[in-house]
């Protein structure tokens, strides 16, 4: 299973963090620091896999954002790369040509999408349509419900 997912910028600013197993705060801080320094130090055409302690780190850069996923020993690195890619595809579909700013300003949406995609450190839904449908369902609900609730009768 996956251990954590971090999104950070080229400057090392954290944009999103997801911890799939309980991790103490101090440890989180250390991991974030380690990951940013490790990944940012990588040269352009190096391979996308790293070792960190007993974990496998799979990272990929999309525009100005680094996506960094930690795996347990048995997991498939190439598949993890595709998980990152699929997540980016989902974000792209939702935001429409997603960029770092979308994720900065709407980070909670990015979390919601992630929650529909991964659950408990495992991939939950691999069908792009279904993930998007459930996110958008919740989103649309916003308007419908607000409309509904703003009616004086309620």
């Amino acid at each position: 299973g996956m251990r954590f997912l971090l999104l950070f910028s080229r400057q090392g600013r954290l944009r999103l963090q997801k911890w799939f197993t309980p991790t103490p705060e101090r440890e989180k801080k250390k991991i974030i620091r380690d990951m940013t320094t490790m990944v940012l130090a990588r040269k352009p055409r190096s391979c996308n896999f790293l070792h960190w302690r007993d974990l496998k780190i799979v990272y990929k850069r999309y525009a100005s954002l680094y996506f960094c996923l930690a795996l347990e020993d048995q997991d498939n690195e190439l598949l993890a790369l595709e998980i990152l890619h699929r997540y980016v595809e989902l974000l792209d579909k939702y935001f429409g040509n997603v960029c770092e700013l979308d994720i900065i300003f709407n980070f909670e949406k990015a979390y919601f999408i992630l929650d529909e995609f991964l659950m408990g450190g495992e991939i939950q839904e691999t069908s792009k349509q279904i993930v998007n449908r459930s996110i958008e369902a919740s989103d649309m609900l916003q308007e419908t419900m607000e409309e509904y609730m703003s009616k004086p009768a309620f």
Binding site: R15, K43, C47, H51, L81, N106, G120
Partner: protein, 1148 residues
Amino acid sequence: MSDVVEKTLTALPSLLSLDSQPGSGKLSSTSKLGNLIRGITELTSKHEEEKLIQRELSSIKEQVASPNTSMRQMKELMVRAIYCEMLGYEASFSYIHAIKLAQQGTVLEKRVGYLAVSLFLNESHELLLLLVNTVLKDLQSTNLIEVCMALTVVSQMFPKDMIPAILPLVEEKLTHPKEIIRRKAVLALYKFYLIAPNQVQHIHNKFRKALCDKDPGVMTASLHIYLQMIKENPEGYKDLTASFVTILKQVVGGKLPMDFNYHSVPAPWLQIQLLRILSLLGKDDQSTSEMMYEVLDESLRRAEMNHNITYAILYECVKSIYTIHPKAELLEKAAKCIGNFVLSPKINLKYLGLKALTYVVQQDANLALQHQLTIIECLDHSDLVIKRETLELLFRITNAQNVTVIVEKMLEFLRLSKDDYTTIDLVGKVAELWFIETMNTVFSLGGDMMQPDIPNSFLRLLSEGFDSTEEDRQLRLFAVDSYVSLLQGEPGRLPQRFLQVISWVLGEYSHLREGLEPATTLRLLAKLLDMKHTSSETKSWVLLAMSKLCEGPDCVSLAQELSERHGGSLDTVLRQRVQELRHLSEDAELRASVLPRDAAQEPLEVDSSLSFLDGFVSEALSAGAAPYKPPHQRQEELAQAKALSLEPYGLSLPISMSSCSLADRQSPTLLSMSSGLSGNSTDLSHKGGSTTLKLDGVKRVWGKDGYLAQKEPVEESAQVEVPSPLCSPSRQGGADSTHSQTPTPTPTPEPEKEKQQLASSLFVGLGSQSSVCLMGKSEQTPQRFRRKAKGQGSSSGASEQISNSHYSTQSTVDNLLCNNLLDSTVTSDLAVSTPEQTPQLSQEVATTNGTCDAEQDLIEETDPGNSPSLIRANSTVTADPPAHKDPDRPKDSCLSSHLPAELAGLSHSEIIPLCSSQNLDLSACHVQKEDALLLVIFIENSSDSDIEQIGGGEKPQCVGVPVFPDGEEASGSRGAGWDGVLPAAFWGISSHAVLLQTSINQFHQVHCFLPSDLLLSMALLTQSMLVSCFCLTSLLFLCLGRPLCVSTEEYGTLWLAFSQDTKQNLALLNDGQDPLTATLDVLKNKLQLHVVDIIGAEGIVACRLLQGQPCLMHCRVHAGSLAVWLRSPVPDLPDCLLYHCQRALQEH
């Protein structure tokens, strides 16, 4: 209301598909969060940021506390609080409000509330208890979105103790009509299974239902649970194999809805999950494995597209194929597949290729051989990750022959790496591979012939440790593990010294290994006491170790039992130890004070002057006892007393030999050698004695041949033999220089050759299982090989191939030889089987005549001699000299023309006839290679008739026997056969006894297939070998001595470390103003000594043998002569050096 929501929800997808602007979220950049973010980006310093965030946080704090804040505003505040936390600022005041928001908000506010809770709180946070009710309520909600949220948050973080409260509700959801709910419920249960497996045990059959769910998403989700359960108990789920196989078949066959395709690959995640499950089920289970062969084959076949996701599937497939019960056809395909990875230009795939190789290489070492050049490239890859993975791979293929190179590469990597985790891991591997393993071999092989200070310093090293405690711990742990497994094997075969080391280490450190009960160790050790061959000295080591260990009731009873069994032993020491053991086992306190743990390095107070014996001594003296003489004084007296009696023996020796060793009556060489022998074992000294007796016979035979004429050339050669000083600097490079190049006139480009060399040293010994694969044919003829070698210079592509085949042949040879040594039955097999090979061999020999230049190429290729395995290859090469015998030429030059081409250019000693019979002449010389010394034996057929087994009829044959280096591989693989006809003799300088024995044994084996007249010669050869061996030891120093450059401080440390001690007076030269300097200069020039320092009337000098054993000499001008005091770890080295010093000074 809930009906409305249901309706809305079902209507949504169609609504959304019309929605043309899903990115509506972008608008919120104008929100308060947007302002905050923009505010932060405009700041220039960390300090300003801190101020801004603190201001923001206090404003949030104020607002969340206000009763007027609506839930909608609260949601917005929570988002901002999350953002601040993400930047690393604490907003703990908001946690309770996040829970409140999740509790009281509308669906969307609730969602933010849940998100905030999951980001803020940990599973153990006490506030989470407040969430349980909310979750319970939402799980029962008719609003699907609320149910989804509750399930999501439950799978993210939920207090373990509260699982029972919600479990029934989650379970219920497994039968929910909506697949998204079922799916989330399965995943939530998966999470529960991970954190509290026994809580979900009762719903295992419901998991089966999920596995059979009509929705592929739910089924996929259930596989997570199954993977986990099968991992823990594969036996329990074998019945599902067929189902998993069917599912995989359907997926691979594209039976799932298109929705599940990812880049037109059907459900890759599902495929991989299934492959993993199958590999767990098929592991070590042939019948289960057979069920999946077909689908695995199909998966391999279907995955054709050149996309990462296809490779991901292939990688998993390969892993499965190598995990389950093997099927040759599939393995072949998988191996090909790994090849695609390894050879891929994409670095990620290459990385996975290396990983796959690492995974499979233990089963199929040839795969590594196939890709050796890629591996070499990866070893020098600029990306450390690739490099590390390569080392991991090499770690798996390490064997006795390539361990040095691999460890060196690992250390090289360590110098580059800054990551602690890697360092610890790698250092552990180095320690494991190298140190403990090597020492195990050293102890097992060196056995009881070894100098006692080797085990002593090993133990000291282990107890004193290095700089890092973690490293020390690792090392000791490795040692303990390694020894425990040795004892569990067949400890009866281990030498006594090794058993002593094992006992000590286990006594001191076995407590480091968790889970290793002291009683277990005790029983292993007790087994040693019962073994027939265990010496009483070893027994006391064992008992001492047991005394350190005995702890707990088990041990007390064991100690009791032992004391009953051994308490009556005749050996008093043993009886004492047993008593100690019994008492200490009963009194833990006493034991702790007598044998404190981890105190091996604390200094013991020893009364070295033995003052407590003073009374006893004076009493004895007054009673007329002789006063004590120190050992060296006794030895000296002994030497002087015995020197006289040596003379007759000296004369009876063949003059060619006595001229270089025994003629000088001052020579201590022979003396101390024989005393050294008797010191080691009476058996050997007996042999030594019988040899000397038989020398008369030898002389007679020799006399017939009239070798006396060669007396003078021999003396000349003694001077030629002084090695050129050029050799020494290159040797001093020693360990680092493995891949630095000595310039050689080779047409091959340097880097290419370097790689090939590296390849040869890395992959040596791997081809042994089946070299077929690599070379095409296993019975590759030398002829073919040589012809290829000739093409070396022309194309580098071809040369790669050649080197491949070349190295693997060599490794096969090495392996053979290695086995040969380790297992004497193999040796005799080999010897017996050779007669059949012989005719073929001579044929080969005949065909290779006239391929001189090809051979030259070969030599150029292998000659640089920097890589150990190459040297080995070199020294084992035997060549048939093509030239015709010229009867008119003097015998010596005639023979020397028959030296193998590769040796022809090197300086060699006089060719000394060893013995001869009517038909056969044996002669020998030694050849000085830059880093090795070869003994070449010429066997010449002087009769007209062919001696079939010897081969070439009228042409003399020669056999190269490597004499040096033998060092650690020693006792090992260095035999050089005459293509297997003449088994090797093993030579070493540090252990004459061993070498004498081996050569005798080896020659006995020769007898069995040589004709009768040869038999005699061989017997003679054996004897003369013994003689020449004696003379060699003294000669050897001239050939092998090298200066040892140390500082005065280092010298001091070394001096104290050696126990062998020899003293002697030497003549002082008086021609200079400073006799000491003059004398030392002469010695320095003649014997390649290094003068470390001269202080007043004292001088210190150091030298070493080719292989590194040092000898230290301390000189002091005293009463007109030079009093020298020598120390060395090698007992005979000081004597040898002394002898040569005497000679050098006399000749001066």
